[in-house]
Subunit: 231 residues, 2 copies
């Protein structure tokens, strides 16, 4: 088996807690017009379908902020909420500032001692740079699906990442809390690690469960992954 040289990390849900972060900001911005946690989940529910229209060739590549905005407009209409332009822009920016999971920073610090650690998100390069800076995440570099002008799980995203870091796909370990992301990575020739984030969708919905996901490594958090890879 080839040597592991690079670890690429999914961000939303795997590295940061989008549910808590988005719900908190929605509550601040929209007040008690709605249940902020439910709204965060409804917004995120539109995430994969909106990207599937790009990866499926139905529409040209657009920035994730644009997809977030379209989903938001649709959702506000459904809820009968009449927010102005500035409010909508602030809401889209909520995805640029999200809190890290408790183990994230220390886990990345340990993992980067032996490997190159890179963010590999469907979030755009600017969004990802803002988010990583605000949460002080010790990544060695930031990669984004934007660099391949498509979205995960399109194989080109994972292969572009390997190519930019000048390594073979099987020298890269994709770390994610989602089965669909790891399936895409495996199809592109990457190795895979599942990190369970059971609270990803808040208290009322379950995150992906290990039993339902195919991966080479299964970890409870980034610290556990660091221990498994240190052997």
């Amino acid at each position: 088996m080839s040597q592991l040289r690079v670890l690429t990390f999914d961000i939303f849900g795997t590295t940061v807690d989008w549910y808590t972060g988005v719900a908190r900001q929605v509550a601040e911005i929209l007040g008690d017009l709605l249940d902020a946690g439910t709204f965060a989940n409804e917004w995120r529910d539109r995430y994969l379908p909106s990207m599937a229209r790009v990866t499926g060739g139905e529409r040209d590549w657009v920035y994730l902020d644009t997809l977030h905005r379209e989903s938001l407009d649709d959702l506000l209409r459904q809820h009968g909420i009449d927010a102005n332009e500035a409010t909508r822009q602030r809401l889209v920016q909520a995805w640029h500032r999200l809190p890290a999971w408790e183990d994230t920073v220390e886990g990345l610090r340990r993992l980067r001692e032996r490997h190159t650690v890179a963010a590999l998100s469907n979030g755009g390069f600017a969004l990802m740079t803002n988010l990583v800076k605000a949460a002080n995440l010790p990544f060695d570099c930031i990669l984004s699906a934007e660099l391949a002008r498509t979205y995960k799980p399109d194989a080109r995203v994972y292969r572009t990442a390997a190519s930019l870091l000048d390594v073979e796909p099987d020298e890269v370990l994709m770390v994610a809390a989602h089965g669909w992301d790891l399936a895409g990575a495996a199809a592109a020739g990457l190795r895979t690690a599942f990190v369970a984030r059971p609270r990803e969708k808040g208290p009322d919905r379950a995150g992906d469960r290990a039993a339902d996901v195919d991966a080479e490594f299964y970890a409870t958090d980034f610290l556990d992954l660091a221990e498994q890879l240190a052997v």
Copy 2:
């Protein structure tokens, strides 16, 4: 005047001391077959001409490592040195590990408090990631001419950087120790800061002098730049 949001940094010579780093590694690898400092300068002399063939359309884009290797092969031939493949590969890798100038890390730390700080080098994305990691440079993200598949001073390099960070060109300050780089940045609509690195080419050759360079800011090092921008 627009607000400054992003600072992009040239790397070789501006942020790290390529002369000392390359000369030291050449001396380690080739011993006393030649004067390592002179060799480092002769190698670097081939840098701009080799890239000009790409930016001028004479040849397709190739990775900087490839250009470094071609220049090296040429130079070894001229010096009548018969190095094997492994030695040549080690020599090319010398450009992946270079020491930061004394003020670099603390300067970047201060500058990143108010701005996004990004590496913007002609070095490839992998080279730059290796170099930044090895020297512990606190950049928020790494950019590379590779992302535009051409080389500075081609305007597309600077504009791709602004576009990936989702800012206007005039919200970006290019920081470099070289007039040609700042001229390219200005032509692409960026703002410019010259940082003097008089010892860039070692003890026997002078670096670019402020008097010969057009820029908006002139700084003696990164700490001086941080003070000027903090006003």
